[in-house]
Subunit: 232 residues, 6 copies
């Protein structure tokens, strides 16, 4: 994901990647998603210093809203960025990801954003090959073929105007899928990287009031020191 | 809360209370709410065995949906139970709690439940006295007075038909507030205790398909053993 | 229905059944539903005295809201109770009933409750055998088979998380249908009986203001004496 | 109401008025509204024969949808007609009627119609003088003054584009109120009379399928003979 | 269209038809729709004088809302009138028109009106024969057959209660299609002609405040003189 | 606007400004907005060639959707870009602009985008001084003071989390207003310039199917040659 994101924005920004030392290996359920949100808070608290924006590299945007409260820089989510980019390219938006049971997690985020009414098609396909570590930089042709085939059917059946490819392991598949589809395809990590550049460049003021103002004077145990310090 | 809940249901059920060893002391922000959700998962994984239902004792229902996925018994939330009970007593529902910045957390839950359209009034008042440990069983008269006054104004201004008192520290205040209001008042913990009895008694089957079927075969680090075991 | 409801709540409550002397034999249209609502008002006015709660035994909840206005005890509807119970067991709710033309009546109630957005599947099947009087306590195997088959298809096609069985003559079919479905099934009358227990036990205050306060000083002709007396 | 309606449509139609022999004298609660709906069904069954359309002369449209199912001619409601007329005159619609507790009944109808999102202002004022029988054809000046004053405030406060005057006893007040308001005023009975002309003239086919097809083969007791005959 | 509209209202009104000297020949895209809206403003400004109401004869209602602002008489749209008429005949409304890519334009209007929730079925079929100039007054049998076949399928598949035939070239096809459908069919131009009669007869006051009050003191170039004069 | 936009994106893009030779001087009504949309189509058709993205410099986004259909590059609107940027900075969004009668035009766009539910506050103030040509680069202090004062009140009254400053003549006022507000302020033109960079860089494929595919084979008169050529 880091490689695809950096390639997308080129010299417009320098991206630094960090990974949680603990937590779920992959997010494939509500339970893992909740644990991932806590892990994202720890990472955000530890690494935001000195950055212009934070890009949250998890396809469900787990932890996005609390991070916006905790940090004083813009925080960008892959799902949110992809959907808001899609909103600017057409009316009826579809999302293709891996795993049918992930769909409710994405749908809840679409409702949170208030744009569920724009979503005209959802598909979560089973594609174990996509989780096999790639040998190098190139996407797996068999995975690309399966994605293109399902995407084309979704676009056709639901009269979609834009298609979002969502899921960490699908980062980088857009070039292989786009030529086989008659509507624009969006890669979540590319969209998020550019939104991070755009928001970081505008340097929005931090919240000093309301429910997004950073919490202080809070007692918490069991977290890493950076998170506890920010809450203290 | 345990005392109020047990008193509410009397001999209809025996409630056993457990508290998270780590996490935020009080939930007053999105960040603490996220950490509390993870803590609730650990508790649920460790203590569900042998119970007919689980009552989640946190006013924002943090962790409610992942717990429903993780456990094979009904899980009841204080906020959800209170609002669904209120839905059966009148058309326009209001909620009074402590702390204005908590309102978005409650409102997001109301949207998740799909009943945001029923909510006709929200208030999050500042009332530090409510957080002072009580000397005994009786609610603090000054706190009750403040609640009654704010509640009466909210009912009047928004033409409310029912009022929900929400917030862990407000458990037990209903008897002191109700006589001063012209519409029914609901105490979240009483409502939740009764929903736990009702759902537990119906013994709904566990999910064997769909996104609420318990996840298995998942790798996760940094959690307690019971949670890791359930996910394994 | 009375038998199933009493069996569901056991010793938690004593249910007393009453039936309207006049009105439609079965509700299968908007017209009959309207007449049933008036009949329910007459019954409620005549029999509420001395009860802790009233359970309205008609699958469309005809008369539910006016009864809440007319009486000073909680009034519980089979449809409403089933849907609110379902809301606590999963995200995507389905309803299976008898007769396709009944669906708009149920859907209007779901909109009134404000939870139409939770409803992910509806089916109203034609099953005349279900209306044949049963010889004893056991559900008809052929009816149970047809229900299970249609229910399984609905759950699968619409990715349902919970299924509500609705319709007076379907009371008691849950045990026969549940084993063949991978998600929890709810029987409207059981759910309603438990909600009646739960609401009755909380003893919510009567409305003294707003549109649910009992009407008085109203002139009406053509009703039974108990209803006219309550309105006078 | 009949006089105002006939004057509105002039020679475009001949209106025949009928009144229910039994039922509530005035509709001021959900209970009376339910009884009025049953009475409307009896009237409709008895008098539809030979008419091109039926105009339901009750401000809450009680019985409107079942009448559409029962009869094979168009049925027009005062509230519905007024709101749909208002929709064609501006974006933000307000409604002024008598009695605050009537508002939920109107609001439920607006939700049923699916146009609740267009409603930008509601007021139900207490104006006992409006219920005093008028000596002749002229509206009472004091009532007109009160209506104009409240209407002007509602229009101003809610930036209304159109105002609906609703309530049987307000029929005929439009000429007295309009000159004092900067936006168009709609009289429910005038709007309904014209919709009845418009729908009657188009002679829409009767429903032969779906949930609006007239019910047949239904057993019902306690109604008048014409209604029982239509259902039989 | 003029012929069908005049035949529908008979002697109730005299319709005068005008056509834009410039603009798109047919509206089949968002771009042409935008140009048509500007053309409609020019026509309205030039021809409203002396009329009781204006009927906008374009199936997408292009220019409807700005015309309501610009003119001081009621302005009626074919799509809006048809849908609001349909709302009075049943619950689930469908629309059949020519050209799938027109559907988003209709759907946006349904959302603007606030009645998108009532729309239960949409179809935009490809039927080039419909655009062939007719030899006389009679609809083309082949076109009528195709319409009836598609309409019947839409009604059946989506459980529709009413069907709207939309599209300028479909004016006059209702008599040929209705006998083959089990629910009422509405012809947009007939519905609009009657709404124009109904609104014109009520003589609603012009807007003197709010966003529909006619704009004045505006500088504009590139328009015809009548439009510039109204804006000046 | 061009100056502010170019300053915002710096070397990330080169902006070229064009202005319509005809049309309304200022958009302050629906009528002018419609004429501006047609003018935007002419400009887009004439100047898109060779650009990576088009930024539509009108605060109501007039013509945005048809331009997306007409052109094969991304088209960015000031209002849409500002609101979607705001969605990434907080939950409750407010908009402050000039002229109360402009609000319905903005609100209709928010509904079209599907994010009306995120909008928590609207204000259209009268501030003629803002339309006075500025002597140089600096915003007028009196205008900035008035904006800050109204904005602070709106933020406070509606618990806003983000505030959008909308209106062509308000471009460049953000630095003067932000210090006096406790939540981030967004300048529409800055946000749009960055979205144009972000979308242009992602080089989304053009639509080859659906309702956004460029229309061809259309006959139109009265437009400039470039627009007619694109439609031909």
């Amino acid at each position: 994901m880091l490689r695809v994101a950096q390639a997308a924005v080129g010299s417009a920004a320098t991206l630094v990647g960090v990974t949680a030392p603990h937590g779920p290996a992959v997010v494939g359920s509500r339970t893992e998603n909740t644990l991932a949100a806590s892990a994202a808070l720890e990472l955000g608290a530890a690494h935001a210093e000195g950055c212009d924006a934070m890009l949250l590299g998890i396809s469900t945007d787990a932890g996005l809203e609390p991070l916006r409260e905790l940090l004083d820089i813009p925080v960008v989510g892959m799902l949110e960025a992809a959907l808001l980019t899609a909103c600017q390219l057409g009316g009826r938006i579809g999302l293709l990801t891996l795993g049918e049971r992930m769909l409710p997690l994405y749908q809840e985020q679409a409702r949170r954003m208030g744009i569920a009414g724009r979503m005209a098609g959802w598909a979560g396909i089973e594609l174990p090959a996509a989780f096999t570590p790639q040998s190098g930089d190139a996407p797996e042709p068999a995975v690309a073929d399966a994605l293109a085939e399902h995407a084309a059917r979704l676009v056709q059946d639901q009269c979609l105007d834009v298609l979002v490819l969502s899921g960490a392991v699908l980062a980088g598949y857009r070039p292989a899928v786009q030529p086989r589809l008659p509507v624009p395809v969006i890669d979540g990590i590319e969209a998020a990287a550019w939104q991070a550049v755009a928001l970081g460049a505008q340097k929005p003021a931090a919240h000093r009031a309301g429910s997004y103002a950073p919490p202080h004077g809070r007692r918490v145990t069991g977290t890493g020191a950076p998170l506890a310090r920010r809450l203290a």
